[in-house]
Symmetry: C4
Subunit: 265 residues, 4 copies
């Protein structure tokens, strides 16, 4: 079935900006975009599912199942100098190389229908050590954007620090060119353990982003919100990590069974 | 060729319920659904084959080859308060992540043509130890179903016990939403060795299911039937497990050959 | 590009029988079918190439490259009680599970255009030890064929000896059902080292097959022919085995380079 | 999204020759073709991107992201006895077997639109040891080409030296037959470490190629150019190698994180 986007509502948007924040290192992008969705009261209008996600559903406390998905939200401009927004958050990125390309391409194809011309991708940048003041490093789809965003406190020395941007945040910028969408990746410095969410790094990213977007945002509830999110996000990542380890190790023998996650199938 | 459903007959069904029971932990779902098919005298009307199954055929005692497949059966309502049923049983689930999504999606697309709006997926829930009285744990596609099924002795505490539902039983529930099909997964507690079928757990699942469906079912022959099924099911799973182990280990050297299954190709 | 069949000529065939012999255990099928093609003077009319083959070309002594491919030959009935034949031989089978299904399906789709209703698939059956008189074991797509072929010295006790038939020889039989093609697999017992061709086992298969087909065949040149074929077949299999081992081991470090095959890319 | 070719300009070319030089052993083909593009002032007219490349973008020193891609250039005939040229260079080859076939096939489909009938694929041939005078070994799509190119100092003893040509340089020759394109692979002998570029081997290849094409080329700047290219090429290959090693090892544990490349996602 590859990748499907199911539209729940067709919002009328004017010249919207696209913002992506999916899970990754320190979950920086996911936390930042998720907080923005909540604080702005953004409304979900589409869901993306993909056979490139891991083949399981999660269970909510209520016994309801939860498909792995990415979700599109929109938020109309509220004040002067603001813009309509499309926000993408989600549980998961592709589990394989081909899926990363396909999903990024489907996302761009879809937001292009709303005449998106600009995008922000939010992610973490693993620096291997804790830092008191995590910087926000910028990477752009087009060199001229460095100038445009020069006054927002972004560190534009990514070229010498960073080798690559893996997954959606990078490929959206790279593939965006073929859809006429220019973009910048805001990368919050973080220790670099995928399983430890870094709200502080996310806060740094949010501060830069909201300044650019002319949005006032109270980031004081960020720590609390992250704790709420964390349980569910951790569940997904635990399962994904274990599933990947098991694939790498090969199928287990009966005696090893107890070390596993409770497994249904 | 991906996934194909070959229709043998086009049954006329009224408001049918869809029941899935494919191989998995303890083969709970496979045993329960298989027994139901036999006892109800359900009739096969379609076969599903997929390039996501393992690339071999099995051999029956008669020297006839057997393709890995899933099979759709139907059974018309016989008594009052009963409903027409579509049952899905089979030899195999997908051997790769992408296949799980694709096959679940094809199944839903197909049963949608019969106006299915409700489904039951049957599976085992590995709890790592033997239990005298295995419970039937429920997971639902929609929280409101918990209430609907509250009086059938289902344990609705899955959210705290169970991380995920892997494969068809989970994805059918999750993807069902996009086809307007609501469903519940009935998960029989079992030790959790995929290779040891657990008829007792399957019996628990069947008791709950038949109560909901208003079907009288004599489960006394279950042990005997499982023994009959077992040889063939075991053959498939032996081969699949060995094939997967071999893939994980890489190609063997000539000297190791004798440890292998007899191999033809 | 998946799988392509390139037709070189459109032969007019009457009620042809399809015979497959691709590489596998002991190369029994490949040797038997290849010898038949040569001795009958069969004519090539189509080539099959696939992205499921290994991604390299081989080099002939002449410096000409050789794509991995399967080849379709035909041979018109020459005598009374003979039938037109389509023969499939080749360098390779699919390198992945999905490819096995896809290629078998494309083959069947193609030969169906010539109104094929019957097929023979030729393969080796690894028994783990050398035997003075290798038997020819039969597996059928349909139980009633056991009777039809009962008088040709085929051992129809495959069901208890053999777990599975992996790859083309098995899937062609299994998928053939959906194309209205019935078939039998003739499995020559062999030691079971994929890298050691077994002309004796192939001879046994050929004797049974030619008796069924009413063809007189001098098998005395088989040993000589196998030696001629062997160099090229061995080259392919060496490379495939090394490639598979390397994949299983992961990418090598510079210092290991000398142990490898000469490599171009 | 599989593989896409994005055309930037539609050049009018007369009877063009196609030349491929993508990364590989010693980067011989990549260096030779890249140098030719620069020295001839060839103009880019199309880009190829593929979900079979690794799923990341690279970062330029300027903070601009760089998608992995292959690039088509053209160059009109400048002198007598010269021909219009299409040159293909790029950052990457497919990361999986299926991708190699697909990308080679898309390339051939595309250049066929310009009526290409002849091609040269440039690559390195790993010989496992340094040599003072690396030879240029030839492999051809058609045996009769050996004669055609016999007077240009090409070593046509490839058949006995070389087992296979892996990836684009080989598959383009092999698949070219189905597009009516004949070709020769010029293979520069090199030590065989993929990560050490070999400008000397590339120079040998260029000398043969330019003699055939009637092009005067000053190869004195080759060493300097290689040093310029090298940083960027090395970055890509470092990341690819590490990514492949990580895949082979399976997901790492938190404690191992510091040994990794700086990672963003």
């Amino acid at each position: 079935m590859t990748t499907k986007i199911i539209e729940l509502e067709k919002p009328k948007l004017k010249n919207p900006i696209f913002i992506e924040g999916l899970p990754g290192v320190g979950n920086v992008g996911r936390i930042a975009a998720g907080y923005l969705v909540e604080e702005l009261g953004a409304k979900k209008f589409a869901e993306l599912i993909s056979s490139h996600f891991m083949p399981f559903v999660l269970l909510h406390q209520s016994s309801a199942v939860h498909m792995l998905k990415n979700e599109f939200y929109y938020c109309k401009a509220k004040g002067k100098n603001q813009r309509d927004l499309i926000l993408l958050i989600g549980d998961s990125q592709a589990a394989d190389a081909e899926g990363h390309y396909e999903i990024a391409d489907e996302i761009l194809k879809y937001v292009s229908k709303f005449d998106v011309k600009e995008m922000f991708t939010l992610a973490g940048l693993s620096i291997g050590e804790q830092t008191a003041a995590p910087k926000v490093v910028g990477a752009v789809s087009d060199q001229e954007l460095v100038k445009k965003y020069s006054k927002f406190g972004i560190d534009f020395d990514a070229g010498s620090k960073v080798g690559t941007i893996v997954g959606a945040s990078g490929l959206l910028l790279g593939l965006g060119k073929y859809y006429g969408i220019k973009g910048i990746s805001l990368l919050g410095e973080t220790v670099g353990f995928p399983i430890i969410p870094d709200p502080k790094s996310a806060e740094g990213v949010l501060k830069v982003l909201t300044k650019i977007l002319n949005i006032k945002l109270d980031t004081s509830k960020l720590d609390k919100k992250v704790k709420e999110m964390e349980d569910f996000i951790k569940k997904i990542q635990d399962v994904e990590r274990r599933a990947m380890m098991q694939m790498a190790k090969g199928p287990e023998k009966p005696g090893e069974e107890k070390e596993k996650l409770t497994y249904i199938g």
